[in-house]
């Protein structure tokens, strides 16, 4: 498999996790691509405009990328913090509409700011890695970190509070969970992750423009989660990886590939309404995995 495609898959998985975080708290937010675009602009502007970040022009130093990621995450997080308060008073479909509006507002601002390069965007972004394999290793580490944090969340009070809000917000509030605060944390964490992902993506794609954060992208990232499953973090990761790869893997079928891709997206939720990854399926996989070594007679048993 090509490393460039693998990198896009990993970026897709990170974005899917960003959509998953508010969903874990029962909040349907489509704002991820907006924060992703903001993060990308931070990295693009810094690495093309500030000599310390630009390196030699063609290659940029790795520490610069890390600083860009921190700044991109911080800016996206701050925007989320500022607007999260009023926006998160909305629920369900109204919240979704508000976040779509947010994505549109950010897009139009990005198109019209004097320093973001208009529709052409910013191009010639220096590369911290000479080969796509470098990006893959780096993004894989980032994804592993994000997955580990999501996993930790399951055991933390915050994670349990989020799950409680998802299952019944009123009941959660009754047992003393600070629901607005918890929802805000989930929203900010989602923005932060999207911003950091954008910073990596801007370098990888060479160029960055407002189309990175469009309504289409909102729907695509939502599809990752719906397809993969929204209950457990491996769901969005799997959805992000698969749905990013599929249009490319289908290239051999020629003109039919986008039709097939559409059919897969349609059939996925029809046959797996909870998404591909559910607790029951993971359990079954686990039992199967546990059976296999015993059959082979591997010396695992004490």
């Amino acid at each position: 498999m090509d490393a460039g495609l693998l990198e896009q898959m990993l970026l897709g998985a990170l974005l899917a996790l960003s959509v998953y975080l508010p969903l874990r708290c029962g909040q349907l937010s489509l704002a991820t691509p907006g924060f992703y675009a903001v993060g990308g602009y931070v990295a693009a502007l810094l690495s093309t405009g500030v000599p310390a970040f630009a390196g030699t022009g063609a290659t940029s130093p790795l520490p610069a990328l890390l600083v860009e990621m921190v700044l991109a995450g911080a800016l996206a997080g701050l925007i989320a913090l500022a607007i999260g308060g009023p926006v998160l008073r909305l629920r369900g479909i109204y919240l979704a509409i508000a976040t779509i509006a947010l994505v549109e507002i950010l897009r139009v601002i990005n198109l019209n700011l004097p320093f973001t390069g208009g529709a052409m965007g910013i191009f010639g972004i220096p590369q911290p890695f000479a080969q796509p394999e470098g990006y893959v290793a780096f993004t894989l580490a980032l994804l592993a970190l994000a997955c580990w944090l999501c996993q930790r969340l399951e055991a933390l009070r915050l994670g349990r509070a989020m799950a409680a809000i998802r299952d019944d917000e009123l009941a959660a509030a009754c047992v003393g969970i600070d629901t607005p605060h918890t929802k805000l944390i989930a929203f900010v964490a989602s923005a932060l992750l999207a911003g950091v992902t954008g910073a990596v993506a801007a370098h990888f794609f060479n160029s960055w423009n407002a189309r990175a954060g469009s309504f289409d992208a909102s729907i695509t990232t939502l599809a990752f989660v719906v397809f993969g499953g929204s209950r457990l973090w491996p769901g969005p990761v799997l959805g992000g990886l698969l749905l990013t790869a599929l249009p490319e893997l289908l290239r051999p079928v020629g003109d039919l590939r986008l039709i097939l891709f559409g059919a897969v997206i349609l059939l996925g939720p029809l046959f797996f309404p909870q998404g591909l990854v559910t607790a029951e399926r993971l359990q079954r996989l686990q039992t199967l995995a546990a059976l296999l070594p015993r059959r082979r007679g591997a010396p695992l048993a004490p």
């Binding site: 490393a3 796509p132 994804l143 996993q151 060479n206 189309r211 986008l258 993971l282």
Partner: protein
């Protein structure tokens, strides 16, 4: 219980991704794979909102391929063209470029849109693969790098001609209105040139209206523009949105002249604006009336394939792009036989060969600057003439 299981599942997933990552990478020192012919790749927008251009370009490439293989290919070895769809966005173009480069293509033709070129061309540049762009007109494309060239003259050369032609048709023009798609690289680049030209001729635009690439309904912008009572409307829009806008413009009662940019320079606008396309002025880098052996051969091939129709500029430019690559390959193969040559070095030598040559093409005699910008001598202006039924029409050149 569940967390532990999750953990293991996640570790497995990441291990799988790592494993896949290990499969990446391409050997830089491989020879050229000449099985089935000399490999050249094309990346066109065959789906998405730019597909109307990709369809025109595909025909041009197919005709050029047939022509080249009819006269002996690359010194007796057939030319092999691999066509990939880029969609109409940047990630699609990036993926298609990478795929073609990994498949060992000697040179790439594409991508269709300037916006895609800014994203995908640096990939080819980094990996040292020659790119000949058949339709990128935005400023700054050959400047992306030493491996990037184009046969499509940039809009700063062509766009002013259409304004001049409009002023010649109606010397008293005073009130120009400008439309452009603010989220499209081509539109914003071209409208700057249109507006400079207008100002240079003392025609300060009375209004500049911004639209979006994916808009369908332009009533607001049109009403705002018509309040200013313009007598000339200048559009920098792509085929689909531009066609819709012209239709709505005429339906809302505008009767004056319309100048359109290169984005509408395709007969595929006929089904969109139908009878309302009539009279639109568009600058041209190609004339079907050019009487040279190269153009006559192209015309004959096109008419044989498409039943008597007139080839659009995009088709002629795509034909030219493949012709340029093929002729450079023929010369290169004589100097440095492709069989047994190292792929990396052959790509580098091919780029130098492309830039150093002079080509008799349907566009006329063309050459390249050392940066890869095309040098072309003749440009034209066409006026769209629709048939009475409004189903079909032609681009009639202004004399």
């Amino acid at each position: 219980m569940i967390p532990g299981r999750l953990h293991r599942a996640g570790t497995g997933l990441l291990a799988l991704a790592l494993l896949l990552a290990g499969c990446g990478g391409d050997g830089g020192k491989q020879p050229i794979n000449l099985a089935g012919g000399v490999p050249v790749g094309a990346v066109l927008a065959l789906t998405g909102n730019a597909n109307v251009y990709g369809q025109d370009q595909k025909i041009g490439l197919e005709l050029a391929l047939k022509q080249r293989n009819g006269v002996g290919g690359i010194n007796g070895r057939p030319l092999k063209l691999a066509l990939e769809d880029s969609g109409s966005d940047e990630p699609g173009a990036n993926a298609a470029f990478t795929l073609q480069i990994n498949n060992g293509m000697l040179a790439l033709i594409g991508p269709t849109l300037s916006q895609q070129a800014f994203s995908a061309d640096p990939i080819a540049q980094r990996r040292g693969v020659p790119v000949v762009a058949p339709s990128n007109t935005a400023t700054g494309i050959p400047e992306i790098g030493s491996f990037i060239s184009r046969v499509s003259a940039q809009s700063s050369v062509i766009a002013p001609l259409a304004i001049e032609a409009a002023l010649k048709l109606q010397p008293g023009l005073k009130r120009a209105a400008v439309f452009y798609a603010q989220d499209d690289a081509y539109s914003t680049a071209e409208t700057t040139i249109f507006q400079q030209t207008l100002k240079g001729r003392g025609l300060d635009p009375v209004t500049v209206q911004r639209t979006q690439l994916n808009d369908q309904d332009f009533q607001n912008q049109i009403s705002a523009a018509l309040r200013e009572q313009p007598d000339l409307i200048v559009l920098s829009l792509q085929a689909v949105d531009g066609g819709n806008l012209i239709r709505q413009l005429r339906e809302l009662g505008y009767r004056g002249l319309i100048v359109a940019g290169n984005g509408m320079n395709t007969p595929n606008i006929y089904p969109i604006c139908q009878k309302y396309c009539d009279g639109v002025l568009i600058g041209q880098a190609y004339s079907p009336e050019l009487d040279t052996p190269a153009n006559n051969a192209f015309l004959k091939a096109f008419r044989a394939a498409k039943g008597g129709a007139t080839p659009p500029q995009l088709t002629a430019q795509a034909y030219t792009a493949l012709q340029v690559v093929a002729e450079a390959l023929v010369r290169l193969d004589k100097r440095l036989p492709l069989a047994g040559a190292n792929l990396v070095e052959a790509r580098k030598a091919l780029m130098a060969e492309i830039l150093s040559g002079s080509y008799a093409t349907p566009l006329g005699e063309i050459r390249f600057t050392p940066e890869g910008e095309v040098i072309q001598s003749q440009f034209y202006v066409a006026r769209v003439r629709m048939d009475p039924g409004g189903r079909s029409g032609r681009f009639a050149l202004l004399k």
